[in-house]
Every structure is written in structure tokens, then in C-alpha cells.
């Protein structure tokens, strides 16, 4: 049974204090998950904030067929993916019109991933959107295959395949990196 069920029911009936408790419970995991996609805490903060606004507005549409956390993570993933796309677009535009625009660049952290080799980071950046998503949820957020399938609304087999392919691709990229050295 969903541990947040009671709070969700109260929140649905318009009890803002109950929703406040849910926000307090999930604000850190939501920020961390958004960071894993964007590697920029300022952008991650906006995504996390957006997530809670969306969740509050649509709480009555949550049918309680999954856990509240699954539903909330689905919102984070979708919002973060959209933000990631616009981040990439902005970067590309900045590259194209470097001389014309004087827009300040988004501050990237010195070390977006601690404890990971540069080669692994480069390989991670070459994964497809689906492969990166399952890897982030699985390894950086410790979610089970079932939970990931719930978040992405696909079968457990599909999640396993994406994971397997992501790992294979990472291995291949790492081997290629070693050969170059």
C-alpha cells in the first residue's frame, strides 16, 4: 500500500498542509533527480519547483493506481527532459551565434559527477534519452525495475532492455576510450 495514501487523500480534499508534508518529504529527492538530468543546480531548482506546482494543480487527476512517488517522479522526469532539450537548444544557438549575442552562459559545475571517471561521463553523454533515463533512475536514484517501469509507463522487459543496452554501450565507449589512450 502507498505510504503516502492518507496525505494524498487529504491533499485532494484541499488540505494544503497535507500537500505541504508531501513537498517536505520529496523536495530533496526531486531536486537530486532533476540535477542528474541537468547538472546545474539553478536549473534543477526551477524544474523541482515546477514539478510541485504541476503536482499540486493536478493532484485530483492522480488516480492512485501507482504510488504517489512514482507519479511525482514521472512529472520530474518529463519536466527535466523538456528542460534538458531547451538547455541543449540554447547551447547550440549560443554556439551558432557566439559573436552576435552576449548572453551570459549557464554556470556549469566544476565536477557534475563526483567519483566517476571522465571516460564514463563522456560515455554517459552519448546514451540515448531512454537509456540515460533508465540508468539515472536505476543507479543514481536506486529505483527498482518495477518502479522505473511505472515511472516511464512501459513494461519491465522494456526497462531491462534499455538498461542492458545502456550498459553495453557504456562498455563499448570505455573500451574505445582506452584504445585511444
Amino acid at each position: 500500500m502507498d505510504p503516502d495514501r492518507r496525505l494524498v487523500r487529504f491533499a485532494k480534499s484541499g488540505n494544503t498542509a497535507a500537500f505541504g508534508s508531501l513537498v517536505r518529504k520529496y523536495r530533496d529527492p526531486v531536486l537530486s533527480l532533476a540535477y542528474d538530468y541537468l547538472h546545474d543546480y539553478e536549473l534543477a531548482k526551477d524544474v523541482a519547483q515546477d514539478t510541485f506546482v504541476k503536482a499540486f494543480r493536478h493532484i485530483n487527476e492522480f488516480r492512485e493506481q501507482s504510488f504517489f512517488s512514482t507519479w511525482l517522479y514521472r512529472i520530474v522526469v518529463n519536466t527535466a527532459l523538456d528542460a534538458r532539450k531547451s538547455q541543449k537548444r540554447r547551447k547550440a544557438e549560443r554556439g551558432l551565434f557566439k559573436e552576435k549575442t552576449a548572453e551570459p552562459s549557464v554556470q556549469a559545475p566544476a565536477e557534475p559527477f563526483l567519483n566517476l571517471d571522465d571516460s564514463v561521463i563522456q560515455a554517459l553523454n552519448r546514451l540515448s534519452e531512454n537509456q540515460y533515463t533508465v540508468l539515472v533512475l536505476r543507479y543514481f536514484n536506486d529505483l527498482s525495475v518495477r518502479e522505473i517501469a511505472g515511472i516511464l509507463e512501459c513494461s519491465e522487459n522494456t526497462v531491462r532492455i534499455h538498461l542492458h543496452r545502456a550498459m553495453q554501450k557504456l562498455q563499448a565507449e570505455l573500451r574505445r576510450g582506452k584504445k585511444k589512450r
Binding site: G14, T16, F19, G20, V23, R27, L31, S32, Y35, D36, Y41, E42, K45, A48, Q49, F52, V53, F56, R57, N60, P109, E111, P112, F113, L114, N115, L116, D117, V120, R126, S128, E129, N130, Q131, L135, R138, Y139, F140, S144, V145, S155, N157, T158, R160, I161, H162, L163, H164, R165, M167, K169, L170, Q171, L174
Partner: protein, 258 residues
């Protein structure tokens, strides 16, 4: 040449302790006999450990505090629905001429909407529900069921690879896996005939054509053909069909390989 092994897909679940006892036992048995899997699982484990060591840097000072404050504001603001309900409440509690006029206007509007819904022609349905899961009509051995199930899993893998290639600069296609699958296709075709499963038969025939195409394309020319391949997959609804078939055969798949 690198060949695909049915058990590779279980490595990830094995390290996370998520395999069923039967699956774990089957994998352990397989590792004792397979010439390639022990090396692969070692490489897999080193990458698995590296990824497990991931740590995020801490948020900059002050960010967390401002984030907490903003997150708290997200549910204190009135949403559109709440504002609308409040407006309705205010309107109903007043007896002014403006309220009566609004009441009349709403009545006329609701009549118009009801008439439009009742008398307008229904829109054609865009969504056609997929065919229901079919059951196997004649018994086959467990080994054959497993064979088909692994074939379906590997087919989904190939199809997802093609689907994913749209988001990547480079196209990733496992041609060795395609060739291995093509060889397996003939036996799956026989099993489909044996159990008289038309859905599987159709799927195998379409996969056969697709695998032929993939196996024979020159790797350097693959980008020229990828759109055609994607169109074939979309038109034949191969991805949705493989998922339905996987569900059919999973019920007959209590163990991971026997």
C-alpha cells in the same frame, strides 16, 4: 565474432538481487558452461561498481534554503480551479441583477453545449485498441516456449535500438544480433505453425524481412536506409505486437532457460 547470449539481459538484475530464485539458478548454471559469459559478467560488474560509486556534488550554499521557500509557495498559491470555485461561490451567495443575468447566460450556454454534443456527428476514433492477448492453442515443450520468449526479447531489443537511433547522432545497430536472430527465425516460424498462433506467424514473417534487410546492409550505408526501416516497423506495428506476444509467452515461462 561477438554473439548474443540469451542470459546477458539478466546480468543487471543479478547484481541488484532482483532475479527470482529460478532465474538466478539458471544463470549460475549457464555461467559454468558458457565460454563467453563469465568474461562478460566480470566486465559488467566493474562498470556496475563504477556507476554505484556515483555521488552528486552538494548544492551551492543558500540554494537549498531558497528552493525550500519556493517549494512551499507552490501550494499556497490559488490554482485556476480553486479561483473558479471561489468565484462561483461568491456569485451564488449574491442576489444582484448582475448575478441573475449571469445565471441566464449560463443556462443558455449550457443548452447550446448540450445541443451541440447531442446532435453533432461523432468524431472518428483515432485510437484502435490492440488485439487481445491470444492463448496458445496446442501444448509445446517448455524449451520451445523459452526459445520463442528469448527470440521475442531480442527482437524487442533490435526494434528499440532502431527507435532510439532517432535521438542519436550515430546509428547503433547490432548486426551480429540481427544475424543470430535471423537464424533463430526459422525455428520460431516452425513453432508458430505447430501451435497455430497466427499472431506469432505474422510477426515472425515481418521480422524475417526486416532482419534480412538489417543483416545485409553495409554498415557505412545504414543511415540511408534507417528511415525506410523505421517506416516498416511503424506500419507493421512491430513494437506493440512484440509486447503482446511477450505477455502471451511469459505466462508459459516460469524459469529462465532450461
Amino acid at each position: 565474432m561477438r554473439s548474443f547470449c540469451d542470459f546477458e539481459i539478466y546480468f543487471e538484475g543479478y547484481f541488484h538481487g532482483e532475479l527470482s530464485p529460478a532465474e538466478e539458478l539458471a544463470l549460475q548454471k549457464h555461467l559454468q558452461t558458457c565460454p563467453t559469459c563469465p568474461t562478460r559478467i566480470e566486465a559488467y560488474y566493474s562498470l556496475h561498481s563504477a556507476l554505484k560509486g556515483y555521488r552528486r556534488p552538494l548544492p551551492p550554499a543558500g540554494l537549498r534554503q531558497s528552493y525550500y521557500q519556493q517549494a512551499a509557495l507552490s501550494y499556497e498559491r490559488e490554482t485556476f480551479t480553486q479561483k473558479f470555485i471561489l468565484l462561483l461561490y461568491r456569485l451564488t451567495s449574491s442576489r444582484s441583477p448582475a448575478f441573475r443575468f449571469a445565471q441566464l447566460l449560463m443556462l443558455v450556454l449550457s443548452g447550446l453545449i448540450a445541443g451541440w454534443i447531442l446532435f453533432s456527428s461523432p468524431e472518428p476514433k483515432l485510437y484502435i485498441p490492440p488485439p487481445s492477448v491470444t492463448s496458445l492453442s496446442s501444448p509445446v515443450s517448455q524449451e520451445e516456449i523459452n526459445y520463442v520468449y528469448y527470440y521475442l526479447l531480442a527482437s524487442e531489443m533490435i526494434l528499440l535500438d532502431i527507435e532510439n537511433s532517432m535521438e542519436q547522432a550515430e546509428i547503433y545497430l547490432d548486426r551480429e544480433l540481427a544475424q543470430t536472430l535471423l537464424i533463430k527465425t526459422f525455428r520460431v516460424h516452425e513453432i508458430a505453425l505447430q501451435i497455430n498462433n497466427l499472431q506469432l506467424l505474422n510477426f515472425v514473417s515481418q521480422m524475417q524481412l526486416l532482419l534480412h534487410q538489417i543483416s545485409n546492409i553495409n554498415p557505412t550505408e545504414i543511415s540511408d536506409y534507417i528511415d525506410t526501416i523505421k517506416m516498416v516497423i511503424k506500419e507493421a506495428k512491430l513494437l506493440s505486437n512484440v509486447k503482446i506476444l511477450e505477455r502471451t509467452f511469459k505466462n508459459f515461462h516460469p524459469q529462465a532457460g532450461t
